[in-house]
Symmetry: D3
Subunit: 188 residues, 6 copies
């Protein structure tokens, strides 16, 4: 699995959550995750979560985004578990970088107090599974009350790099663990 | 998915991590997780993790155990993700119950400082996937330096019930999320 | 799995056999089946069965419809087995409600004598499996010789509710049976 | 898929429900179903259904047995659906051969009035899925009240051949149907 | 699995690599492979391999084509393995028909010296897996240096029939082998 | 995926074709293939291919062995395709190293004229898929007429290293190809 932090600003509008965007934008073939910073304004026809279709919109002026495409095991149930684990990992990184902050996770969402810190979705394409996870970097542009990395005094690029590393490490460790376990039989 | 906190003490020796133990001990049929308190001493022939076979042994005098058997999607890769998420969930519960403590997660292990707080394994049987996750409750009996719920001033039964509820809630929310997402197409 | 009998008349044109129709029409998230009464006239571009594309058309003035969407195990081969079982279940219900009638099943079709009583299809979407099964309620509007619930003196709503209950019960019993069986080994 | 009616009497003790028994007994390689007549007395260690372990025993003096081994899609959930469909098929055959009889199906069991006509189990091996389904032929030897083909005046061999043909035909038709259906998209 | 050599010339433009083309063109339902001769000029919007999108184009005046659609196990990873095996099989047939030639395989491509003899792709549809494999028959029309059956003095129809037979035979033998193997346990 | 050529002689008796042998012998975790030289004498209880159980035995004094364990996609049908591709790859390597020889492949067997050059099996464990493929190095010890690398003047270690490299390269290229292909739709 490959990981990359992109220093260029990319305006996320949901169309990036498509099969092979990582291949065509970054020339990364196979399971990969990329992080970058940029504004967010998801076009209605690109919204994957039907619970959000008639909501207040998905937008913010400045976020740290992660886009993960998985080809090896493109199952939606697995992707949803990976998405939850990614949210938990991001919270763990924030506790390292901002020990005084109190980040909590509810499903795939992170909060600081009542402020929503993140947005996320897991979905599939005909050839892969996709995860988008993004954290507000500085205030502005969101249709709901948000929290930001700025108020936690966390540097966005440092946060991004740390999350990418944690995802790569954990996926490697999951694969190793899966290959070192022997099966069990029937209770009797 | 069913959950149950068992008030009776059960001595965990690894044989409980077998197909249908939950069915025969608790009459729970289908995907289920049970929590209970008891000593731990895993017999060598019941050790599933080959990395532990020649280790110092898996033992402690008093732990809070969780045994989870899944029939609906008995895939080992998925089970390993669920195991990691379970460790993250347990850490989140501990942060709620002991805000002053600093619990960290490394893969499927929890730590308080250098003290190992938990043990865990995910494996499969011919008909199901199995997860064991256990947290030290009070000191004693472990072959390595451990941390315990006692030093965090966390009540074992309260911790157990809270973790069970979180697992049930999160699995329900994962299933709902998976059923509310629409697929995406190809980047172009 | 959820079930619902909708008292409102819905004109079925095939577009209902789409991902998330049950979610958006009935706010049912996850595996679900809904029954309702209404005319049937499947638009050519909504026909899923290629064997029907150049046929006489799929239409009738008054049918009892069932639409089943499955997210948990969205496999087409499994869906086709569920479809056949659904046809068998419907025939069993009719034998209870109209013991004097002689309903026979050929694949996914039910007949009373030479009259075709039902239509059906199982297919997939990128996120789910779908089954449509419908039984003629009163005569009229069909391009082929049909049989109807009316000539069996079976009340449509009673039939619909009975079928829904049987599907729910059988799926629950299948899941329980699957979780209570131990594996077998090799002949020697 | 292959089918064979074996004219020789075979005493069924549960050990036949093992991987590759059909290969070694009948030289049939691949997905196959065999029917035969014989007494039934399942050894406790060969019982696959844990719900039966502490029951009255599984036995009868004279049954028509079917053993089905599937390698192509050896999934237990699918096998359980096939088992239910097999029970429904057997009931349909009985309605053809004994129109005056009133055979009812409850899950994987057939009844004539209160008399239990059949036994059944679906399970897996490390390489395949297995189904056993058997119908009482003549009375005697059962630990519960049973019904028999004899009281329905149905010839066992004729019944067996008819069921085998129906299974083969339906599996062929399921495969053809699965290959003739086009996918559907998202509701909008 | 069905196989058919079509004597009619068909101009391949990539649209043939679609779900159910074999069904509608040749009335073949289920897993099937068809061979035919014809020019090749793949329309850009029908190119499945993203590595070819900005390439010199996929074209030649006269090729032997194979189109394989698989419904039973429509997994893309398996299809890619089948594609590689198909390339190896074609090379083996050429060694039989033209022992003096030196055909080499690199991935899914065949070469004679530096001349590219073949093109190929494996992909999926929502209901199936698809493979296209084609070998240059006579020179002309290609945007790169090619080799041809003509320079190997191999008759196209004879080659086509031989490859089809080999695919059918090998798939049958793979299914038989898969059904005759018993599982192994754990090293200890 | 990892590959390793082991210079030490290992006597292959079939017990090496067990889950986690590569982990415990070579400390290789995850998908891996190892090559080594040694005598072969498969114990009857370790024979996985039931077609060989009553055969002349599986033995030779000096072979080049390959043992491949796959955890990522432990499906038996896929493993059987990989096994066939491995046989084809070995033949391709031999054509490079011994251009004058005429190695032919029939299923998973290689031949030089009438002499059987290789043996092979693909099977599964509860946690992985396994492939054994071995080629006779020097004559002696076999119960059937064999061909050897010696008569092709091929150095065993050079052959082994070349095959390992080809397997690694092809698996990498398969994964890349699978991740670069876009899906196709329905023919219309």
């Amino acid at each position: 699995m490959l990981a990359h932090w992109c220093d260029e600003v990319i305006a996320y509008d949901g169309s990036q959550l498509r099969a092979h965007w990582l291949l065509q934008r970054f020339d990364m073939a196979g399971d990969a995750i990329v992080g970058f910073r940029g504004p967010c304004s998801v076009r209605r026809d690109e919204i994957a979560d039907l619970a959000d279709i008639d909501g207040p919109g998905i937008a913010a002026d400045d976020m740290v985004h992660f886009v993960w495409e998985a080809f090896e095991h493109p199952d939606l149930l697995l992707a949803t578990h990976r998405q939850r684990l990614l949210a938990a990992q991001a919270a763990e990184v924030l506790r390292e970088l901002a020990p005084a902050g109190t980040v909590t996770r509810t499903g795939d969402d992170l909060f600081v107090g009542d402020g929503k810190l993140s947005i996320s979705i897991a979905t599939v394409t005909p050839v892969s599974a996709l995860i988008h996870f993004a954290v507000n970097s500085t205030p502005g542009g969101a249709p709901v009350a948000i929290a930001t990395l700025a108020e936690l005094s966390v540097d966005p690029a440092r946060f991004g790099a740390r999350v990418l590393q944690r995802v790569i490490d954990e996926q490697r460790s999951i694969r190793a663990a899966r290959a070192k376990v022997r099966a069990k039989g029937e209770w009797s």
